[in-house]
């Protein structure tokens, strides 16, 4: 006869309430683990998805994700000249915040190196990759931009031609993919008035210098657009992504490029480490510690519930002892209830969590490993939290059955 099950059946309402309560608490523990996992995965998602061997960034920076990096566009061609380099692509990445339909819209703008990269590698949930050099974009679903929707960024209007699922940056902002040219246009967009003022200032500086007097054509050029002036630098890119030929050792190529005085080079693993150790380390630790705290609280609450449940049947326990029940019968009664409470709480946590977590603004990822880990934690806290009840039950005298 399973005394634990019989007692639960007798006190079904209370046990159900206790189970739901413990389940909700475990759901929070599970959720914290999921948020932790989500932050980790989101942080390195882009590096993983892009699948390149080397990232070339501005010298002594940890770019392009951990900090701002600026490198010249022609770095692509220098990279291609290195023996063993298979492909080199421009990478433009920055975050903007605009207003769309009255709500703030944070977009991580990522430039695809048109025409070699049209976004075919992206996990499209709808639509298609880019098919033209301008005015098209692929947006992540978290940006809540519908297929075909038009959005004005800077002076241009872009049409959403594709959507992706779970393409977000390390801070949880959805990524939108443009061509590099469009991404730069968005990044370096300035109002017309600023352009006119800059040109006037440039003309004024020319007029005040001897060169301007000696070379009038220079003053004519000063009023032209920046792109037409060979002496002005072109807009810079964030990084260059390099893939290495399969037969070539990546570290050898990295060694050559790292010898250049103006850039730093990271492998994809190096980028992952920069992101995990640099950008999300504190958040990761904070959530990890909070999760430990919640687990301890769950254990204490479970312990109190089980202790109260034991107190409620202390007379029955004394009676069982009076009848000569061995200690393992009493221990089994309490331990089984603790395990049932923990196991059912875990089921409640998973069932409710699976429905609730997708509604969270950031990804909550429940991996099999984390679920197994939580199940082991629940097993441990079920056993430890039942110890107080077991201690009380073993201490009770059979005499109490007579009182």
């Amino acid at each position: 006869m399973n005394l634990a099950a019989k007692d639960i059946r007798y006190n079904l309402g209370r046990f159900t309430l206790a189970t739901v309560g413990v389940g909700m608490l475990l759901m929070v523990v599970m959720g914290m683990g999921g948020i932790y996992r989500g932050i980790m995965e989101d942080a390195i998602l882009l590096v993983d998805r892009v699948e390149v061997d080397l990232w070339i960034v501005q010298k002594n920076t940890r770019g392009p994700f951990a900090e701002v990096s600026r490198v010249p566009t022609n770095l692509v061609f220098r990279s291609l000249a290195v023996p063993g380099v298979l492909t080199a692509r421009e990478f433009v990445y920055h975050t903007i915040q605009r207003e769309q339909n009255g709500r703030p819209l944070r977009i991580s703008v990522l430039g695809l190196s048109w025409p070699t990269d049209k976004g075919e590698w992206l996990p499209l949930s709808a639509g298609r990759p880019l098919t033209q050099n301008h005015y098209e974009m692929i947006a992540d679903e978290t940006l809540k931009l519908a297929l075909g929707e038009k959005i004005k960024l800077g002076k241009e209007t872009y049409t959403v031609v594709g959507t992706t699922k779970n393409m977000i940056n390390s801070t949880g902002d959805g990524i939108a993919f443009f061509t590099v040219a469009d991404a730069q246009a968005i990044q370096f967009d300035v109002p017309g008035e600023s352009t006119r003022l800059e040109r006037a200032a440039r003309y004024g500086r020319g007029e005040r210098s001897d060169i301007g007097s000696n070379q009038p054509s220079l003053l004519d050029n000063a009023e032209k657009s920046s792109a037409e002036l060979p002496t002005l630098p072109l807009p810079q890119i964030s990084a260059v992504m390099v893939t290495v030929s399969p037969a070539v050792d990546v570290s050898q190529v990295a060694k050559i490029i790292s010898g250049w005085g103006d850039v730093s080079v990271y492998t994809s693993d190096g980028q992952r480490e920069l992101l995990l150790k640099g950008m999300v380390e504190k958040v990761r630790k904070q959530i990890g510690l909070f999760r430990i705290l919640l687990t301890v609280i769950a254990a204490i609450i479970m312990g109190l519930i089980l202790y109260t449940m034991t107190l409620d049947k202390i007379h029955s326990i004394a009676l069982l002892k009076l009848m000569g029940a061995p200690n393992y019968v009493i221990l089994g009664l309490i331990m089984q209830q603790a395990l049932m409470l923990g196991a059912l709480g875990l089921v409640v946590a998973y069932s409710v969590g699976s429905k609730v977590f997708p509604l969270f603004p950031r990804r909550v990822i429940l991996t099999q490993y984390d679920l197994i880990q939580l199940a082991v934690i629940v097993l441990v806290i079920s056993i430890t939290s039942s110890l107080l009840g077991i201690w009380k039950a073993l201490k009770v005298s059979p005499n109490e059955a007579l009182s």
């Binding site: 006869m1 005394l3 019989k6 007692d7 059946r9 007798y10 006190n11 049947k313 007379h315 029955s316 009676l319 069982l320 002892k321 009076l322 009848m323 000569g324 029940a325 061995p326 019968v329 005298s397 059979p398 005499n399 059955a401 007579l402």
Partner: protein, 239 residues
Amino acid sequence: MNKSVPSQYVIETEAITKIYGSGNTEVVAMRDASMQVEPGKVVALLGPSGSGKSTFLTAVGLINPPTSGRIIIQGKPILDGKNALVNLRSFRRQHIGFVFQKSNLIPFLSAIENVQVAMEINGLSPPAARKRAQELLDYLGVGDRANNSPSMLSGGQQQRVAVARALANHPSVILADEPTAALDSHRGRQVMELFAQVAHEQGAGVIVVTHDHRSLDIFDILYEMEDGILQKKTRETIS
């Protein structure tokens, strides 16, 4: 020294004394109480409240060991003063049945389960325990209420279930502490007759603590406890 010796008594107590506290707070609850009960005999233990009846019963029931004296059950020394000579809980499980003033049934078990659990913790298989539990309930006239929870049974029915539980493991000793206190006189007498029937049919020694003098004719032996002193009485000498 502790070996079993053939004995004509199922219960023997040899000058058992129970003292609570020490020094100035010392209280002697029971002094040199000796009793012998033959198999199949029903003993009434009478006496006013606080006289030490329950102390004697819990000592014989191996719940509350005496301070001194010996308790021998079925010829086997069990307690020598406070020293247990066997595993008391195990011995209690196999040889002693209890019935209390209140039925003391486990509330989360049905009537039949209350009887069944006593046998299961003694190692009987669940199907066999259930079968015997049903037989006992039938024997005691509450077989039709087997699946009812204790709260759905009347006081008399609960007490019959408690008796069934006490009989479950074929005990050689049945101890009852005012088992009829919560019952009307008719039901009370029925329960007392039940003890006598069980004692006679199963050869158990039964000690019943009671205040009810109307049922004294049912008992084979009478003892009276007063101020911790146990004395054998007859119907004529009982106070």
